[in-house]
């Protein structure tokens, strides 16, 4: 569990103490924009805004790279697939009469990759407050405790899946398989073979955690009381309103132009 806390945050913020709910609204806004936008230029702007926020919350944006690195080859595969299978725009590269890369394909491919980067970066905001505050915030908004708890567990599981993936990649290489040098075909077939056991293994571990939680009395008390209350400050209200309004406006503009 120490591993969880290290990643899921329990870090103190020396300044800029915002309510976790405000940050949740920010994450939802940024991710919605990332999902709706599909051109690289707009997605880059969203990315810049996200990185700016992370800097304000004293989160080192270079850590995002650590989260994305293990998925680099998957992202590359996605990029190539989008590039090759999207038709339209100018033909940039053709093999005989068959257009291979088009400007539209390139832009959609870049969009897909940027979208993953933005959502990962936005999710980093979750690591700047503790999971306890997260649950507390949701419960005060009358979200049932079980549901709030499940959401926070799901968030804690993202790093578990990532670590699982890193472990397997390391273990495979230590068995003497050169992952960096093999061809793309071999790499893809390796990922395909490992996908099921790895996902299933991660699920087994999640199941063990769930059993451990119940054994320690989760669900035992339907009514809970809390020592602390989170209070929204005026800065929280202003920022939440600002982010929601700005996002709705940007989405509106996106669909009317």
């Amino acid at each position: 569990m120490a591993e969880f806390n290290r990643i899921a945050g329990e870090r103190e913020m020396p300044y800029m103490k915002l309510d976790p709910r405000t940050k949740m609204v920010m994450v939802i806004c940024l991710s919605s924009l990332a999902l709706i936008y599909n051109t690289p230029d707009r997605l880059l702007l969203v990315l810049a805004a996200t990185v700016g926020l992370l800097l304000i919350f004293r989160f080192d944006p270079s850590a995002i790279w650590g989260y994305l690195k293990p998925f680099l080859s998957l992202m590359l595969i996605l990029f190539v697939i989008q590039c090759v299978f999207t038709r339209g725009g100018e033909v940039l590269l053709a093999v005989g009469p068959v257009p291979l890369i088009t400007s539209k394909g390139l832009s959609i491919g870049a969009g897909v990759v940027l979208r993953i980067v933005v959502i990962t970066a936005a999710a980093m905001l979750f690591t700047t407050f503790s999971s306890r505050d997260f649950i507390l915030g949701l419960v005060q908004w009358r979200v049932p405790y079980e549901l709030a708890f499940m959401v926070s567990i799901a968030l804690r599981f993202l790093p578990v899946f990532r670590d699982e993936f890193i472990n397997v990649i390391t273990a495979v290489q230590l068995r003497g398989v050169e992952l960096k040098k093999v061809s793309w075909g071999q790499k893809i077939s390796m990922y395909r073979r490992l996908f099921f056991p790895v996902v299933y293994g991660a699920m087994l571990k999640a199941q063990q955690l769930a059993v451990a939680m119940e054994a320690r009395g989760f669900r035992a008390y339907p009514r809970r009381t809390y020592l602390r209350r989170l209070n929204l400050s005026s800065a929280d209200y202003v920022l939440m309103l600002f982010f929601t309004a700005a996002t709705l406006m940007l989405i509106g503009i996106n669909f009317t132009t």
Partner: protein, 230 residues
């Protein structure tokens, strides 16, 4: 020249002020069985992860066969050093027990017939033959441990690092493992054992290194017959 040589190695985990290892010097030879002992959290596992290039030192240098370890890929290190993780769950990733044992051989281009033969041998020796088609993570703890060891031994690396290999093994299986490791050692292959199991260390090790708080506390050096000093 030592097979593995650590010079002045210091290592920090991210966001930790206290180093996990401090100014460590250690040479390991290919013709001896070394054991590292020490209390929980003294840095034993960290030390072995540095030796296989999974972690990189903040200061100092690690050499494998006289060359800096940074110049090897993980796969190149893995072909020379067989590593059994402290937690077997971290290194089982195939969909069946037999595939797990044959994984390294198959991917290094062994003939299917040779792979089959070796897989059968290791499954028999470690008494896993009955589970050959089972899903590795469904095995019992001791069975997973044996499978992790078998999968590494099947690659026949020149050097072995085993982090707590006897954990979860019953007395009979522990004896089987000991016999096999001694046989491997007689073939001239080196070994590093990490263990809290004093009788096991006592029976196996020719050299015992004690580490505490990330520093080497004592090093028995090579002994004719292993004597364990607590």
């Amino acid at each position: 020249m030592s097979f593995l040589k650590l010079s002045q190695v210091t290592f920090f985990y991210p966001r930790k002020l206290k180093p996990a290892l401090t100014g460590l010097n250690l040479g390991l030879e290919k013709d001896e069985i070394t054991a590292i002992v020490g209390p929980n959290g003294s840095g034993k596992t960290t030390l072995t992860k540095l030796m296989i290039g999974v972690l990189q030192p903040a200061e100092g240098e690690i050499q494998l066969e006289g060359r800096p370890i940074a110049g090897y890929s993980l796969a190149e290190i893995g072909r020379r050093i067989g590593y059994v993780f402290q937690n077997p769950d971290l290194q089982l990733f195939c969909s069946s027990v037999a595939e797990e044992v044959g994984f390294g051989l198959t991917n290094q281009g062994c003939e299917p017939a040779t792979v089959e033969e070796k897989v059968d041998f290791y499954l028999d020796y470690f008494e896993l033959a009955a589970y050959r088609n089972a899903f590795p993570l469904h095995l019992s703890q001791g069975e997973k441990q044996r499978l992790a060891i078998a999968a590494v031994l099947a690659n026949e690396p020149e050097f072995l690092i085993l982090d707590e290999p006897t954990i979860g093994l019953d007395a009979y299986r522990k004896k089987l493992l000991e016999d096999y490791l001694k046989k491997v050692a007689r073939l001239g292959r080196g070994m590093l054992l990490i263990s809290h199991d004093a009788p096991f260390v006592n029976r196996m090790a020719e050299r015992v290194v004690t580490i505490e708080n990330g520093r080497i506390q004592s090093d028995s050096g090579r002994k004719g017959n292993a004597v364990y000093e607590a």
